[in-house]
């Protein structure tokens, strides 16, 4: 096994007095796909948001591609541009066209020329299967299309790691598949992925490991087959029976 690209050890986080993440230990190897699930409020979002420092942890250690995340870091921006993130609410920039959404960061962060950035953006828009929407504005697209733009926008920075926070929860059922298909393809291309989702079909298909969180703790962690067919912990069993029943 290669060196892990993400290394979390004994990490704790509080919101005020509320202990939101408890003693988290996790290592992710390059190319590995991790699915994180758990009940609402269990700290899944907070955990992956700590990985690009949208949230700050208070105790323990987080290392991303050999760089330790803490208050003294200088090149936070360069770490962030290597770690792409896709949000539940898309968070596209509504005042910019699809193409501008995708070229903004390559131009201003990676100092690419407009021409290079646009060529790259069109390439990724092709990959998420919306090459003909480049000149539209986010408000003119369906939810599924918007989320695929958001994925393309993140990919334009050529990240080594992609974080997904419930990318399909805000979508109508008929659009979920088009987004999941793109994510499956991305997984097949060897991207390192951490994905918070309750799409168990997706987890079975691509995940190397499934992690179950409850009340800020990693309760259970296993390969998808074993995780679904033979959960060990009572809390996992209860959660799975709820999720799989509909």
């Amino acid at each position: 096994m290669t060196d892990p690209v993400i290394r979390i050890s004994n990490m704790n986080k509080w919101f005020g007095t509320f202990h939101v993440l408890r003693d988290i230990n996790l290592q992710v190897a390059a190319g590995e796909k991790i699915v994180i699930c758990g009940p609402s409020g269990s700290g899944k979002s907070t955990l992956i948001r700590c990985l690009n420092r949208l949230e700050h942890h208070q105790e323990g250690h987080i290392e991303v591609e050999g760089v330790s995340l803490d208050g003294s870091m200088k090149n936070l921006e360069s770490i962030r541009s290597n770690v792409g993130m896709v949000f539940q609410q898309f968070n596209l920039f509504p005042h910019m066209s699809v193409l501008e959404n995708c070229t903004l960061a390559p131009i201003w962060v990676k100092q690419k020329t407009k021409q290079e950035a646009e060529a790259l953006a069109r390439q990724f828009l092709e990959r998420v299967r919306i090459p003909d929407q480049a000149d539209k504005y986010p408000g003119q697209l369906s939810g599924g299309q918007q989320q695929r733009v958001a994925i393309a926008r993140a990919l334009c920075m050529n990240p080594d790691i992609m974080l997904f926070d419930e990318p399909t929860s805000a979508l109508d059922p008929e659009m979920i598949k088009e987004v999941l298909d793109v994510m499956v393809e991305l997984a097949e291309d060897g991207m390192t992925m951490l994905c918070v989702t309750h799409e168990m079909g997706f987890a079975r298909q691509v995940a190397d490991r499934v992690i179950f969180m409850d009340e800020g703790e990693i309760v259970e962690e296993n390969e998808p087959e074993a995780f679904f067919s033979n959960p060990q912990n009572e809390r996992t069993k209860m959660f799975l029976s709820q999720v799989l029943s509909h």
Partner: protein, 382 residues
């Protein structure tokens, strides 16, 4: 969005037409009444000799000039205090609005206290406070506060040194315009270079060189056509320099400080209206905070800010008519005040005054609508 703005413009035009029609009918009606009673009417008085002095005139004016010229002098005074007021209120308002959102507790609280005080005290009272409470209470010219024996602050206002421009000064004006144009051009070129080559080009150094070069050429062509006019005390008052009358200072201060408090709240609400996911998405892409503000947050906040900001600009312009209370010679003071009491043609005079404010307001709304149209979003915001 677009069709709404057009409807807005149409509505404004209809209202304007209705107002004009109403006025014409009113004037006609009143005029025939007056004629029957043998009272003067019409706008003939505009060419008559005014016969009174005005203590602040931006164009040459003497008592021998006509009432028509009084209108222009008053209008320019209104414009001067309004434009400067809008400028300072915007500057201060935006700073306060951002300060209000600061993570620094003290800065945010100071901004809050400012806003609460200035927006809850009636404007007329604030004008009176600055005029009667502060500026009129300053020492007389003989005991004036002097700054380097060149600038004097007294109850007669602020007297500052002034450059008297002679022939050839126009070349300096041309040089200045050249520097402005050059600055714009350099900025655009820098952005283009950035997009075409990935590298930003320099802006400040070439601009400094351009400034030096243009003014050197102006000096070669025209020499130095300026004489410095430093004020000095003679008898009971100052001679020379430029006198800024206390009425102007008080009105400008009050209008700027009062309106800034409202603008601050508008700016705060505008920035808060931008979803915090926008900042998070920018950060996740690796954009530094300053760029995220400039490219993502502010353009979206402006959409929310501009409509209420426009009405603050209109309010400030209309509120400048409170000048009457301290006899600053704005359009209302000199026209609806002094001229009316001398000529006595209330209908015509009030009509002209109202039309002037209406035109100013429509002009401002039109300009701001144009600007807002450019910022409008396509489709529904997600």
């Amino acid at each position: 969005m677009r069709s709404w703005l057009n409807r807005d413009a149409l509505l404004q035009a209809i209202v304007l037409l209705a107002v004009v029609a109403g006025m014409v009918w009113l004037v006609g009606n009143v005029q025939s009444n007056l004629e029957r009673q043998n009272i003067n009417s019409g706008f003939g008085f505009l060419s008559e000799r005014a016969g009174f002095g005005i203590n602040q005139t931006l164009i040459d004016y003497t008592e021998d000039d006509s009432f028509g010229r009084v209108v222009v002098v008053g209008l320019l005074n209104t414009l001067l205090v309004s434009v400067l007021g809008i400028f300072f209120a915007t500057l201060l308002g935006f700073s306060l609005g951002v300060a209000r959102l600061s993570r620094n507790w003290l800065i945010s609280k100071i901004a809050m206290v400012y806003i609460e005080i200035f927006r809850n005290v009636p404007l007329l009272l604030q004008i009176m406070f600055w005029y009667f409470g502060v500026l009129r209470n300053l020492p007389s010219p003989r005991q004036a506060l002097s700054i380097g024996e060149a600038m004097f602050v007294s109850n007669r206002g602020v007297v500052v040194p002034w450059l008297e421009a002679g022939a050839g000064a126009v070349w300096y004006g041309v040089a200045f315009a050249g520097v402005l144009a050059g600055g714009f051009w350099l900025r655009r070129r820098a952005l283009k270079m950035k997009l075409n080559t990935g590298q930003a080009s320099r802006v400040w150094r070439p601009l400094a060189l351009l400034t030096l070069a243009l003014f050197a050429v102006a000096a070669l062509l025209a020499g130095v056509p300026f004489t410095l006019d430093v004020p000095y005390l003679k008898g009971f008052n100052f001679r020379g320099g430029l006198t800024v009358i206390p009425e102007f200072v008080a009105l400008l201060l009050a209008l700027s400080l009062y309106t800034a408090a409202f603008i601050a709240e508008i700016v705060r609400a505008g920035i808060n209206a931008v979803d915090k996911g926008q900042r998070e998405a920018s950060a996740a892409l690796g954009l530094p905070e300053s760029l995220a503000l400039r490219l993502v947050v502010i353009p979206q906040a402006l959409r929310v800010i501009i409509p209420p900001l426009t009405s603050q600009y209109l309010n400030l312009t209309k509120n400048s008519s409170l000048a009457v209370a301290i006899a600053y010679p704005d359009i209302v003071s000199v026209l609806a005040g002094t001229t009316l009491s001398q000529v006595g043609q209330a209908v015509e005079i009030i009509f002209v005054t109202m039309m002037i404010y209406l035109s100013l307001s429509l002009l401002t709304s039109w300009a701001m609508n144009r600007y807002n149209q450019r910022m409008a979003l396509v489709g529904n915001a997600s």
